[in-house]
Symmetry: C2
Subunit: 125 residues, 2 copies
């Protein structure tokens, strides 16, 4: 959901804003990965996420930069080096992700016959 900052369109309810920030298939995972690495390079993120494509990863990172959830630091070397890290705003969602994670663990066992698997990313929260 694009709430174009400049145009100030798409007035949204608070929960929508939150879900736009860390919802979707990848953003929460990216936050998790960044949370356990002070700084991390593009290809390391990609490796940790396993099966994300470049197009999607690049798009997610771009949105998250615009949302001020992460910062991108580019070193003009050859080969290029770019590092990503959580901003303070980014770090501030970690407790929420932990809450969701804990809630899910507590309530999924009843619903699913199986327990939720350990999650490489969430478990490092």
């Amino acid at each position: 959901m694009k709430y174009d900052l400049k145009l100030g369109k798409e007035i949204m309810c608070p929960i929508e804003y939150g879900l736009d920030i860390f919802g979707g298939k990848w953003k929460s995972r990216i936050i998790c990965v960044l949370s356990s690495n002070k700084v991390i390079r593009y290809n390391e993120i990609k490796k940790e996420l396993g099966n994300i494509t470049d197009a999607v990863l690049a798009a997610m990172l771009k949105e998250m930069i615009a949302d001020e959830m992460i910062i991108r630091t580019q070193y003009n070397e050859i080969p290029p080096r770019v590092e990503y890290a959580l901003t303070e705003k980014g770090k501030s969602v970690l407790p929420i992700l932990q809450c969701i994670c804990q809630w899910s663990r507590e309530h999924s066992a009843e619903a699913l016959d199986t327990k939720l698997p350990a999650c490489i990313s969430c478990d490092q929260l």
Copy 2:
């Protein structure tokens, strides 16, 4: 995301489970509406949500029943009367929604030039 209970497929990470439960465009709103009405009828939910269509509302309610987030009570009267209410599991996500709501209010002002609007549903949390 359908994690068919019977087939037990789609093993997911905890955060995914949570986002499946209350993520998406409508579920969190439905939970909010139900949280401020002990019981509420189908058309009342629809009215409160404003612009949801029957097809989508019915689908959401069905999923949420399957997830054991809400209960449906049907009275065999004419005209039909059906009431919905949050289960204990459903109520247990309210603190999380509140967290998200509060976090959004605290952090959106910087990003958006405008404050997030009061939200009929969230504000009753």
